[in-house]
């Protein structure tokens, strides 16, 4: 099959859109997955821990 301009335009307008949409769904699911909430809250509090030493 010859890859010409029209073939690339078709690919980006169809699969390009689907892959962005699919990716967006994955990100939203990860962000709002209930069991991730605890980890996120811990992460944002953790940087305020004043101890300035690596954990051994």
């Amino acid at each position: 099959m010859e890859i010409d301009h029209n073939a690339l335009v078709f690919f980006s307008k169809s699969w390009g859109l689907l892959y962005l949409g699919g990716f967006a769904v994955c990100v939203v699911v990860y962000t709002f997955w209930p069991s991730n909430k605890k980890r996120f809250v811990r992460a944002k509090e953790s940087i305020l821990d004043p101890v300035d030493k690596p954990w051994q």
Partner: protein, 503 residues
């Protein structure tokens, strides 16, 4: 010469005592300190050149008849110096700090961070010295020729590997979101730099090269690079700074961690497609222009999500924003980030672009981002980082931080307003027709009309440069001050110890 200097350093350290094992119980900070110093040195140098370039537009005789002092050579010295010299060193320094602190792990070795820092600065010097003598690829923000480009690839891959190795050693299970931004910055800049700079040198001993891309593809690759340099060099990395130093300075966790994740992926995936808005009304296919325009408008959502997240983090701490100029630097940076991303989305719309493109409006927009967002978040981060890194109780002078803040803010506003005015006037003059259907103004007419704005712009630049000099002096005096008697072992500023002007 460089080899000889390295040899002296190595021989000198040969007779030093063996490093003690307890060094492993602390973070490895010396390269961070050097990075901050390099960043401020580049800021003063490159902003000085920026002021010179601005003055040249009002007083062209300021080239002093020297070929190296022409606009075409000084301008890339300014842009490379501020973006890569000032911004790049700031990103390397703060990323070394953030990756260790958020991973709770020391860097895996003591050589690669120095290689990254020194190698990166060598790249900057190679590029800038080339521009002075007329060596350039003529690609905006990618002017450096092939020999410097190849060197940067080696340095940059080392940087990426160092970051991944530190993350792999992390004791904290979750990778904090600031690291995602820094990693996106490093990874994407590597991809952009390599693809845009694929070129064939005239010969191995010659500085000149020719790009492999031709015609409109070259233009598209260049602006895919150019806009993503703004996105990933000047935005993603500095958002990494924002997501770490703003919460630390305000002593409040980020307003919404979930929102920061959504905006991260939004920015990463939308920005990649926005570059073609630089090529409206050109030979680029119309649908590609429309694609770039659409993604640019969509970008407003994740951009404002980050700006809003930062400002909402400060909700409840506004009294500290009022009293603490360092926090105010970061607050104003978030505001300018919101403003300039709105402006950028707006300017990417094709009919708006027909007025704004090729005018000073674009220059004003870039500086709203570069001065108002990038430089202010950097200064805010440095003023947070410097006392904790050098184990000082506070900055040498809180008053000078205030002075710097107001100089920087005034300089940015004067600059941006001057360029908005001149840009819109320019755009309108170029498209005004007489009744007979001929252009009403010559290009020279528009140039004469710009002169007052060019003078004002140079004045704004002088204010901003003065602020950077005051900041450098303050950092230098903080470093020279007597350290705290005992290491508090604490990284975050203690609320009662945050320096406030007038105390």
């Amino acid at each position: 010469m460089a080899g000889l200097l390295c040899a002296i350093v190595v021989i000198h350290s040969y007779y030093e005592p063996e490093p003690t094992p307890d060094r492993l119980s602390s973070y490895y900070d010396p390269p961070i300190k050097a990075g901050i110093a390099m960043s401020m040195a580049w800021a003063v140098f490159a902003m000085f050149v920026g002021v010179w370039v601005a003055l040249l537009l009002a007083w062209p005789e300021l080239t002093f008849d020297q070929p190296w002092a022409g606009f075409g050579r000084l301008r890339p010295v300014h842009t490379t110096g501020v973006i890569f010299g000032f911004g790049g060193n700031a990103l390397i320094a703060t990323s070394f700090h953030v990756m260790q602190r958020t991973s709770r792990a020391r860097m895996p070795d003591q050589i690669s961070p120095w290689f990254v820092l020194a190698g990166y600065n060598l790249f900057c010097i190679l590029s800038v010295s080339g521009y002075f003598i007329g060596i350039t690829q003529s690609k905006e923000y990618a002017e450096a020729e092939w020999y410097a480009d190849i060197w940067l690839v080696i340095v940059w891959v080392t940087y990426f590997v160092l970051y991944i190795r530190t993350i792999a050693r992390r004791k904290e299970p979750h990778i904090y979101v600031a690291n995602w931004y820094f990693l996106a910055f490093i990874l994407v800049v590597a991809i952009l730099h390599i693809v845009n700079n694929i070129a064939v040198p005239v010969s191995i001993g010659h500085a000149k090269s020719y790009t492999v891309w031709a015609g409109v593809q070259d233009a598209m690759v260049q602006w895919w690079y150019g806009h993503n340099a703004v996105a990933f060099f000047l935005t993603a990395g500095f958002l990494g700074m924002l997501y770490y130093y703003l919460p630390v300075r305000a002593q409040r966790p980020i307003f919404s961690y979930r929102l920061s994740i959504l905006s991260f992926w939004g920015i990463t995936f939308f920005y990649m497609w926005a570059g073609s808005h630089h090529l409206h009304y050109t030979a680029l296919p119309h649908w590609v222009q429309t694609l770039g325009m659409t993604f640019s408008v969509m970008l407003l959502v994740p951009s404002w999500a980050s700006a809003g997240n930062a400002l909402l983090t400060l909700n409840g701490a506004w009294h500290r924003v009022r009293d603490d100029a360092t926090l105010r630097f970061m607050m104003v940076a978030a505001v300018f980030y919101g403003l300039s991303t709105f402006e950028g989305s707006f300017m990417a719309i094709r009919p708006v672009n027909s007025l704004s493109h090729y005018t000073d409006w674009t220059v004003g927009h870039v500086h709203a981002g570069a001065l108002g967002w990038v430089a202010l978040i950097t200064f805010g981060s440095f003023y947070t980082l410097v006392p904790s890194l050098w184990k000082r109780e506070r900055m040498y002078s809180a008053g000078l931080v205030e002075v710097h803040f107001w100089l920087a803010l005034a300089g940015t506003l004067v600059y941006v307003f001057a360029m908005w005015n001149s840009g819109v006037i320019q755009g309108l003059m170029w498209r005004t027709y007489t009744k007979e259907g001929t252009l009403a103004y010559s290009f020279l007419d528009s140039l004469v009309a710009m002169r007052p704005y060019y003078v004002a712009r140079a004045f704004g630049g002088i204010l901003f440069l003065a602020g950077a000099i005051v900041g450098s002096y303050n950092i230098w005096m903080t470093v020279r001050a007597v350290p705290q008697a005992a290491d508090t072992g604490k990284d975050a500023p203690q609320p009662e110890k945050v320096a406030v002007a007038g105390e």
